[in-house]
Amino acid sequence: MTTTNTTTTTQFPPPKVLTYPSSTPPILITQGAEGRLYKTTYLSPSIPCALKYRPPKPYRHPILDARLTKARLSAEAKVLERCWREGIPVPAVYAVDTSAGWMAIEWIDGPPVRAGINEWLGDPPEVEQDGGHQQDKKKENADEDEGEAPMVDLMRRIGLAVGRLHNLAGVVHGDLTTSNMMLRPPLDGGDAAQGKAGKALEGEVVLIDFGLATQSQSDEDRAVDLYVLERAFLSTHPRAERLFGEVLEAYRGSFKKAASVLVKLEDVRMRGRKKSMIG
């Protein structure tokens, strides 16, 4: 079934490529300052993809505008490829059209970490739901710490993911938030976690949105990356504040030089994200 669609639900015109026929109409997912994200399909109806579109900015000189769009798209694509070659889970790049300002990348299933955490916070894990004979099999000392286990585990997975990004790929993300991390369900046995406490927090942590990423090995840049995540996390999930330390602990253990990044993080906390340019 082929339909020609014009995404009438959006107030902005979609990129030209999305006006050509597709099996399902593209859906506008988010709209940021720099661009828009559509969910659509690549090549065949069975391959979902995310199409990132950076529309021309009318307030910029057209030549400068084209050059910036091109440079940013290709920088993002290169960073994603670099991560892929190192085996760091990020979306694959399917196609890039720098002159038209779009990039088609792999669609990552699953909720953002933000949603997972919020679900978990708003809906604390119940030890048993089916009651009766399947009563509490948990150890007697099932104290508060144990109830938090899935959350602690997620925090560690996040710390590890960021550590691997920094260390193996030599990439700093530039915009680490719990919205820019997905919880991708396992390929098979997706319902293995059914009914288990902390199900909302299961899945592989996949980093997304590398629009502000840069290649850097410096402690300073890495510390700022962590600082941005810390600030974002504390403001998005104030109730989970005391668990953030687990992210940093896992980061510390993820590569040799992580400790010096964490020392640097202390400095960054004192002065904020921007380095003073005085002196």
Partner: protein, 197 residues
């Protein structure tokens, strides 16, 4: 008839894409000479299957070529040659033809892609003509272009070399061979998408 009409997402309805696969082709020299002499009757993309890993791999190149043609920025004479160079992660056109295109006396299994843009004739008519012309001039056994047929001919060491997949840490760590192939396909697609960047 083993000629397949392809439907690709986000391709204008003015473009009709036909693909097929010939096994045990015996006249690759003749076919290549027709391309070199730019015989307009032989406007096809001829692709050596040994350098291809899946339908998705091929389709990505077809899509990219069509997108480039619509954009008006073809780097080669026509959309068919553009399909071939779209397979490469590099900008070296001559090398790309040698690696992915038809090679005299070497190419045995051949993918043929025909892209027809806004032809006036009926679809059935176009299809019949293309098929007639191909079966007349390609000496080989036509088979449907499936992933299974492609994988019989894929030369993995060659593909790994062409797409620089040797010694890639993200692949070396993988134990599961099926998963490894899936990941390799993604890396191949990325190599193509990032050509010249």
């Amino acid at each position: 008839m083993a000629l397949e009409r392809l439907t690709l997402e986000h391709v204008p309805s003015t473009h009709r894409v036909y693909i097929t696969l010939f096994r045990d082709v015996s006249n690759s020299s003749f076919l290549q000479s027709q391309l070199i002499s730019r015989n307009p009757e032989f406007e096809y993309a001829f692709i050596d299957v040994s350098s291809i890993i899946s339908r998705t791999h091929l389709l990505a190149a077809v899509y990219n070529a069509i997108n480039t043609q619509i954009d008006g920025t073809l780097k080669t004479p026509n959309v068919h040659s553009e399909v071939v160079i779209s397979l490469s992660p590099s900008n070296n056109i001559a090398e790309t033809y040698r690696r992915w295109g038809i090679t005299p006396d070497k190419t045995k299994d051949l993918i043929v892609v025909k892209i027809v843009v806004s032809a006036d004739e009926e679809e059935a008519e176009t299809e019949r003509k293309v098929w007639e012309h191909l079966t007349q001039h390609v000496q080989g056994t036509p088979v449907p272009l499936t992933d299974g047929e492609i994988s019989k001919a894929t030369d993995w060491p060659k593909v790994r070399k062409y797409y620089k997949l040797n010694g890639v840490p993200g692949l070396e760590r993988l134990k599961d061979e099926d998963l490894k192939k899936k990941q390799m396909e993604k890396l191949v697609l990325m190599g193509m998408a990032l050509r010249g960047m």
